[in-house]
Amino acid sequence: MTPEEKKRVIAKLEERYSRQYGRKFEISTKEALPHTLWGYGLELSRCIGCRRCVYACVKENNNSRYRPQLQWIRVLRLKRGNLINLENSEHYYNPPEVPEKGFIYMPVQCQHCEDPPCVKVCPVHATWKEPDGLVVVDYNWCIGCRYCIAACPYKGRVFNWAEPNIPKEEVNTSVHYLGNRPRMKCAVDKCTFCIQRVRIGRYPACVEACPTGTRKFGNLLDPDSEIRYIIDRKRVFRLKEDLNTEPKFYYFFEA
């Protein structure tokens, strides 16, 4: 698309959104920053399983709220002594208080693989990896075949089974075309590491929402970044490394 065409599409979308939600939208198309490769760190020994990240994410990213609520982050509760066999995990734990004795919590979201299987299988090029490493979807190009959902080993993608619904007063109007703009029925969507935030120098919403400092974020190409510090000095691992998807999402323990 030429810049002119892009502008026209954005103007049309902004108009449609403002009609639908009664608010003025600003849709950014900000390109990837040069010399940037976003990476994520998650310290398993700190996570208390409170799910604040889950709800902050839903709100920031204009996810559909009811029936069903689309969540990009899923927190698994594992019995101590387990980690790799996720069949023993509980996704819908609901105790009066967290953390619970005898359990650890492992949040999982899109791992922004360097070699993403979801991108490979898409029959129409509706999803791709941006130069800064973010795996994004063009919601207006997706045909809803859900092949990417079948291909993802991390359940990083969700589907808008129905027309998404967001209460007007809760709509986030500061959006990115490839990120949190309101979606439509029967297209796929996913975590973008808050592309609308990170490309203007802010942290993803989940990083900000975490009360325990479990979540870290930064530029993998910058030797002085926090994420590089973690990779160099902590014991890190990535989920399902055996699948060669090369996630840019590093789990680590205090060590």
Partner: protein
């Protein structure tokens, strides 16, 4: 130029006469077509609801994101591929009894492909964006996406299976010798192409490392083996219906030959399946979970268990029926075997194959998927479309093959019409 004009004229003439043949028929024919149209219409109403409100109207979810539609799709691709079992003996080895029916097999393949494509269409969330997949107009991810491959090979196969029988039928109609130099390459191409459509469909699942149940290299051979059971089985039944309802002669010998081929295919199918089961159960790794969900139940969830064991029993019984010449060569037991195979393979390859791929999901969750009424009705609608397409195609093909419908038979038209009506009256639909 002159020749082209003549071809066009001939085609148009043939088309017009065909149309009048299709719209005229006996009472039973009208009843049958109206019955199918009614199912199609109600299926369509359900689909409209799904289209308006979204796939939320199905029982699918992020955990099990493909279900009954894709299960039927997989099964029908196999059905279509199975025409090759008729093409090889007839065109390559000139086994006469089968040569006479091969065109029906090809038309059946075309109808199956139509159904398979429809099942993909109803499964798409955004049918309005279907054109994104069309090469050059949209943006097809070829050769990386196996789904793109599938779209190409399925449409190619549909083209072949319409071109070949229609070409031959038109030639028969005009009492002309087919130009074998022209059509033979297409016939030969249709053989590897049939293997191709099912291999590509198997690879569609096979290539996903995220789904250990599908990520087994035995998948494509298994798909082919089971397809060579179910497709011919349904054809044996259809051939018997056709010879009851029309003058079309189909020898028992042809049916028994097909049944014998099914027996071999079923043996290979069962062997490949047991090889897979051995590997999973003996090594007993984390990847056994979907097998356990399918065959034994997992953490108390055993929705599929009775189904898969019923399917296993059906397949084994049918195998024995077709293996023993005594039961293979008796129409009663032959038909029983066919029905067992049609259902058994459908379970094994449809719901028994698609659902366990998603259970447990990559993060270990078990989501219980059972299709709902809407999914069932839409599926019935599509099956009815396939049957209607096949009915209309054979309505033209059979009189051509029997010689009742041909260019020189203008004078005999009235006589033929009477005869046809009589045939329809004699036959009764109560029989099936």
């Amino acid at each position: 130029m002159e020749k082209l004009r003549e071809i066009l004229k001939e085609t148009w003439h043939f088309y017009r006469r065909t149309l009048s043949l299709v719209v005229r028929g006996s009472k039973a024919y009208y009843t049958w077509c109206l019955f199918l149209l009614a199912i199609i219409f109600s299926g369509f109403l359900f689909y409209v609801k799904q289209h308006d409100l979204g796939l939320v109207e199905t029982n699918l979810a992020d955990q099990v994101s493909w279900g009954l539609y894709i299960a039927n799709f997989t099964y029908l691709v196999g059905m279509a591929a199975a025409a090759v079992l008729l093409v090889i003996p007839s065109y390559i080895y000139s086994f006469k009894p089968i040569k006479e029916i091969v065109i029906l097999g090809e038309l059946f393949a075309a109808s199956s492909i139509v159904m398979a494509i429809l099942f993909v269409m109803v499964d798409l969330g955004r049918l309005d964006r279907f054109w994104h997949m069309i090469p050059f107009i949209g943006s097809m991810n070829f050769p990386k996406s196996l789904l793109a491959w599938d779209v190409l090979v399925l449409n190619g196969y549909l083209f072949l299976n319409l071109l070949i029988p229609v070409y031959l039928l038109v030639k028969f109609y005009y009492h002309k010798e087919p130009n074998w130099k022209f059509i033979l390459p297409f016939i030969l191409a249709s053989i590897p192409w049939a293997v191709g459509i099912h291999t590509v469909t198997a690879f569609l699942y096979n290539g996903l490392a995220a789904r250990p149940f599908w990520n087994a290299s035995i998948l494509a051979p298994r798909f082919l083996a089971s397809a060579l059971c179910s497709g011919p089985a349904i054809m044996i039944i259809i051939f018997q219906i056709i010879r009851k309802l029309s003058d079309f002669k189909i020898e028992d010998r042809a049916l028994f030959k097909i049944a014998e081929l099914i027996a071999y295919a079923m043996f290979i199918n069962l062997f490949l399946l047991s090889a897979e089961i051995f590997k999973e159960y003996y090594s007993d790794t984390i990847h056994i979970a979907p097998f356990k969900y399918l065959f034994q139940g997992l953490h108390g969830h055993n929705q599929l268990v009775p189904w898969i064991w019923a399917a296993m029993a059906m397949n084994v019984i049918a195998f024995l029926l077709f293996l023993i010449p005594g039961t293979r060569k008796r129409l009663g037991t032959l038909n029983l075997g066919c029905i067992l195979i049609i259902i058994g393979v459908w379970i094994e390859k449809g719901p028994g194959f698609v659902t366990p791929g998603f259970v447990p999901d990559p993060l270990g969750e078990i989501y219980v998927y059972v299709p709902n009424l809407l999914e069932l009705m839409v599926s019935f609608g599509i099956w009815a479309v396939g049957l209607l397409v096949f009915t209309l195609l054979t309505k033209v093909a059979i009189p051509i093959e029997t010689g009742a419908f041909s260019h020189v038979s203008y004078i005999e038209r009235i006589f033929r019409q009477e005869e046809e009506d009589q045939a329809w009256r004699q036959s009764s639909f109560r029989k099936f």
